[in-house]
């Protein structure tokens, strides 16, 4: 039985964590996501979930590492500068194959930047801002409802693949209110994973959580294993949304909040008789490469729109592989593009193509 509420994105996400039976949250305040920690500090006692304000993001991510090693459902959230500080820890978590949920409510960068919404951390999230070859499963919600759903889904994926999952959202989604259907309260973890560090019973060998292998050939094996896992994830976990793509001649591609603005732009375009569709990658890793490649065979051109200087567009171009022109329109530093502006850019860039 689910309940409909009007909630702020950050609070909805925090509520979803409680409902999903999350066992512990470790985090450090930073705008525009502090409501996550604040909400949990208020309501997590409902399930007895551990909520700890860490002394820093570096401590927080390493707490996530430690707690995740016990096989429980662990999460943290932050925003851009804080996520940067977590990169070493994330690389450790990915290598040690610990399931956990990370949330980045992106703000305008680089540097201290602004606290306005941005998508400037796509590269960091998808290519790996930390050192070495690893991948996070990255989900990009575009509604407050998805902020809720992806928490539950994120934990499930994290445990399915023993891999950290990142919800990549932005300040606007974190701060805005929308209707959400909440799912019923789920149990907290009671069964210990067999790989977890929970105390070694006589019946098994000791468990060790580590990301170290001092012998290069053994470290390579770990990497090969990780890469194989990422392949499986790419085969099974691609998520995307198509909006009026069927008869589209031009495609807008965008993730998260931007996809919604693109939809409005597409509506405006159709009002003008321009057949525009919107393609929204939901899983940024694994990226819907094949689907985009397929669509590229059907449309005349793509305009990728992002709240950054052009990041996901590289993955779009890799997917299109030269088939059709891929244009880009981006706003930066916390500025959100408007539907009208997107339409205008689209008309400019595809001046010839549009009937």
């Amino acid at each position: 039985m689910s309940e409909t509420k009007l909630m702020k994105g950050n609070e909805a996400l925090a509520e979803a964590a409680i409902l999903a039976g999350c066992d512990a949250y470790f985090g450090y305040p930073i705008t525009p996501q502090s409501e996550v920690l604040e909400y949990l500090a208020n309501y997590a006692h409902r399930t007895g979930m551990v909520v700890l304000q860490a002394e820093s993001e570096v401590a927080a991510i390493n707490m996530v590492y430690g707690a995740a090693g016990t096989g429980k459902q662990i999460m943290t959230s932050s925003s851009s500068p804080g996520m940067s500080l977590m990169q070493e820890g994330i690389s450790y978590i990915a290598c040690a194959e610990l399931p956990c949920l990370l949330v980045n409510v992106v703000r305008g960068g680089p540097g201290l930047g602004t606290i306005q919404p941005s998508q400037g951390d796509y590269f960091q999230s998808v290519k790996g801002g930390g050192h070495g070859d690893y991948k996070l499963i990255v989900l990009a919600p575009s509604t407050v409802q998805e902020m809720v759903d992806f928490v539950r889904e994120g934990f499930a994926l994290a445990f399915k693949y023993k891999n950290p999952v990142l919800i990549l959202t932005d300040g606007a989604l974190g701060q805005m209110m929308e209707k959400v259907d909440l799912f019923p309260q789920m149990e907290r973890k009671t069964v210990f994973e067999d790989w977890a560090t929970v105390g070694k019973p006589k019946t098994r060998e000791r468990n060790v959580i580590t990301s170290l292998n001092i012998k290069a050939d053994e470290m390579e094996k770990i990497n090969i294993h990780l890469q194989a896992k990422y392949k499986v994830i790419e085969e099974n976990e691609i998520r995307y949304e198509e909006y009026m793509c069927d008869d589209a001649e031009i495609l807008l591609v965008g993730f998260g909040l931007v996809a919604r603005i693109c939809k409005k732009a597409a509506q405006l375009a159709r009002e003008k008789g321009i057949k525009v569709g919107v393609f929204r990658p939901i899983s940024l890793f694994p990226f819907p490469t094949a689907k985009i490649n397929e669509l590229a065979g059907k449309v005349k051109g793509i305009m990728d729109v992002e709240m950054n200087a052009g990041q996901m567009v590289e993955d779009v171009r890799l997917a299109v592989n030269g088939k059709i022109p891929v244009e880009f329109h981006g706003r930066m530093g916390g500025v959100v593009p408007s539907p009208e502006e997107i339409l205008q850019k689209l008309e400019e860039k595809f001046v010839g193509e549009i009937a």
Binding site: A54, Y65, Y92, K200
Partner: protein, 274 residues
């Protein structure tokens, strides 16, 4: 090696076998505990890490808490502690062992948790985590191996390196005017209200080994009683990077390190508000 007393050792052993051996199970008065695995340790000859490991293992074995204990190894020479201790363990990023231990303990409050950290780890890069873990009074045990140097990376200056002491990054000796004085982090930690027990020990002599073991044991016992944080410093050596033999290293430690880092309790339950 004094030639005069050295007898042919094979002959010697053969002689021993000839005698009636007293080496029987019932006569056994000391052997390494089960919790210490048989894997040969990678430490340099004479390194204090080995003794510290064994003491932890002894305490865990004697308290019968092997099944309930989770250890956290740092980045430092003891990064492989999990290869030697037969318990569940988590390796932690450099400096973050106490944050990792905090989290484990928070989600498994009934288990025993300890972190094992070097001076570079605990008192340089991990200073923030150390202070805050202690200040929160996390109910766990921190074992701090202070050898005055970065062992693993080849002998760079640590926060605890003594004044004038040479290291690869203080080749002319630690100059306190530019590099600061050695950081007595244990003295700082002892003052935090969250810290219940804080002591400084060593493993250079049989007597000190016994005392260090006792301290570690208390750390686990207080944890059982949910008293808060126990902090056990072990002043140790690093023969390789001090560029001394193990015996020279221990002598230097006794003369130089102990003078700066005096052994003894810094905070004991009766004297909590000291």
């Amino acid at each position: 090696m004094s030639e005069k007393t050295l007898v042919n050792e094979e002959q010697h052993f053969e002689d021993m076998i000839a005698e009636e051996s007293i080496c029987t199970t019932e006569n056994l008065v000391y052997e390494k505990p089960d919790t210490l695995l048989d894997t040969p340790m990678h430490y340099c000859p004479g390194c204090g890490h080995g003794v510290a490991h064994r003491l932890i293992a002894e305490v865990i074995s004697e308290l019968g808490i092997q099944e309930e204990t989770i250890g956290v190894a740092p980045v430092g020479c003891s990064v492989f502690a999990y290869n030697y201790l037969n318990i569940d363990m988590s390796e932690a990023a450099h400096g973050r062992a106490s944050a990792v231990a905090t989290a484990i303990k928070r989600v498994l409050p009934e288990k025993y948790v300890f972190s094992y950290q070097g001076d570079g780890d605990l008192a340089a890069i991990g200073t923030g985590e150390t202070i805050h873990t202690c200040n929160r009074g996390e109910n766990l045990l921190i074992i701090f191996i202070n050898n005055g140097i970065y062992g693993m990376t080849g002998g760079q200056m640590a926060p605890t390196t003594l004044p004038g002491m040479k290291s690869t990054t203080s080749p002319f000796g630690r100059d306190v005017s530019t590099m600061g004085s050695p950081l007595k982090i244990t003295e700082l930690i002892a003052q935090l209200p969250g810290v219940y027990y804080c002591t400084r020990t060593a493993v250079n002599s049989p007597a000190n080994v016994r005392r260090a073991k006792k301290a570690i044991q208390k750390g686990f016992e207080y944890q059982k009683l949910k008293k808060g944080l126990s902090f056990v410093e072990i002043v140790s050596n690093c023969p390789s990077n001090w560029k001394m033999t193990p015996l020279e290293a221990n002598k230097w430690m006794e003369e130089q390190m102990f003078a700066f880092y005096p052994l003894g309790d810094l905070k004991v339950p009766n004297d909590k508000e000291k």
